[in-house]
Subunit: 177 residues, 2 copies
């Protein structure tokens, strides 16, 4: 998830670590802050894998900056990760939102639509949080107000996302033709 965000932000423009960190904090930090001690090793991993290169520049304000630039291999890897996400990237909302934030980098509308359809299929699976045996329980059947809240909120999210997915798939379909 973090690596995807790094690749995604660098795809648009080279950045140094500190600014990259603020971008990531704006995107996911509200929900899940990213520690510096996670970001810098992640950058090093990507560098080691040949997905980005670092160039030292004198710091505009303070210490010298390491400006990060995506390599061609890095761009390919980003597109690969966007086009063929692991199932976790589809099901976990945190991961999914990160993926969505960069899905425009996938040039082909058909490829974008294919990813959206995987999410659609996931959301259309019947699933609950609470079961009585194998039978899923609805919000109305629960006495616990907190568990009822979970189902109520999840249902509202799901409804909004399904509507958006169908709209967007329709307009991608038009664009693809």
């Amino acid at each position: 998830m973090l690596e995807l965000a790094i690749l995604g932000f660098l795809y648009d423009a080279p950045l140094h670590g500190y600014v990259l960190r603020r971008h990531i904090a704006a995107l996911t930090g509200h929900v899940r802050p990213v520690a510096e001690s996670t970001l810098y090793p992640a950058i090093k991993r990507l560098e080691k894998a040949g997905l980005l290169v670092r160039a030292t520049e004198p710091g505009a304000v303070a210490a010298p900056r390491h400006v990060l630039r995506l390599t061609e291999e890095g761009g390919r890897e980003l597109r690969r990760r966007l086009a063929e996400p692991a199932q976790r990237e589809i099901t976990d909302e945190n991961h999914w939102f990160t993926l969505l934030a960069f899905l425009r980098h996938l040039a082909d509308p058909a490829a974008q639509a294919a990813v959206l359809r995987r999410r659609l299929a996931f959301l259309e699976e019947p699933a609950s949080f609470f079961y009585e045996g194998d039978r899923p329980l609805s919000a109305e059947e629960l006495e616990d107000p907190f568990r009822r809240g979970i189902l109520t909120i999840a249902r509202a999210t799901s409804r909004a996302e399904l509507a958006w997915l169908r709209d967007t798939l329709a307009s991608l379909g038009r664009a693809g033709r």
Copy 2:
């Protein structure tokens, strides 16, 4: 999050690992599956910490079961984690839902309300995913349909959750008096 789920499920009734795993899978597994190699070490951690005890029983179907039972210390620890969650448990939806699923184990309505108010405060903070400088961008301002989707979905979720939170806080207030 996993440890909270284990403590939460065992608070109601003793279970053995295999059944516990199915409970957890129903609760969070749709979004984020739990590997056995994560669950069993987690159980051992909790046992080592004195939060639960294991009793071997002959297996009903196959191998012998280790029935897990919460100790008093375990019950206290669960209530402590529910009453004083880390900020991550409040902000990350996955964690938050897990917490909500067991919040009823907190006997005092005032303590339950205090936790809900922390979530309410978090949701009421102005926050976006995308900024132009320091100014948050609204869905309407975004050209990217995918980023617009993120904001649309997040807004729907937030609205549903705020409504539920206010309702529930109101009825907890009545109950508390």
